[in-house]
């Protein structure tokens, strides 16, 4: 299964110009799948911002607007889009001028593929 899924996510990475990394982790930040462009970002930082997202997401859910689904963070050189798909967390890292709308639209497309990974996580 993982080859198929990896291929699919690599295809997505090529489709969205300026997208550097797609990462799927569980809510503790344990990486389940990662695809990235040659031009890498500093992976040393990645483990820390997954738990941070989980915390931010939990806090944002307390605003009285319902459950938080997505957090988009803009930086001077990067943008990070994180989606809460518990038990999974989907993280996209791209250039600051990358097409945010396109990344958000991927959410519905990847659902089918995530189901397989979700199964694997819940079984474990």
């Amino acid at each position: 299964m993982s080859d198929d899924i990896k291929k699919y996510f690599n295809g997505l990475l090529q489709k969205v110009s300026g997208l550097y990394v797609i990462q799927i982790t569980d809510r503790d930040g344990v990486p389940l799948l990662r695809v990235s462009q040659e031009k890498n970002i500093d992976f040393a930082l990645m483990p820390s911002f997954i738990p941070t997202f989980t915390t931010a997401c939990d806090q944002a859910s307390k605003l009285g607007l319902g459950r938080n689904k997505t957090i988009i963070s803009m930086y001077s050189n990067y943008q990070v889009v994180q989606m809460n798909k518990l038990p999974l967390i989907l993280t996209f890292v791209g250039a600051e001028n990358c097409n945010t709308g396109h990344i958000l639209a991927l959410e519905h497309q990847v659902d089918g593929y995530l189901e397989d990974i979700k199964l694997a996580v819940t079984e474990a």
Binding site: S17, N97, N99, T100, G101, H102, L104, A105
Partner: protein, 98 residues
Amino acid sequence: METQLEKVLMDTAARPDTVGALVANRQGLCLVAKGDIDPNVSGIGMAIAQQVAKLEPNSTVPATICLYSGNKRCVIKNDGRITAVIFKQLTANSATGN
């Protein structure tokens, strides 16, 4: 603030054969959508416009892109700042005119 934009889109979406219309900003995020169109289309619409812009980088006037599928059309135009996407579906009447 966006009333002008809403008005323009309302007019566009009310045109014959038009199913829906939206405009997206530079980040591919939907500003306004009217009619039967998924706001999520803004991202892919802008991605298509950006891809086409690579075809003739020296062209001063942006291109109009039209995708055809049966009696349906998807028209995309980008002026560098905003992107418009219009969904059209030809009714039997106008289709016979083809």
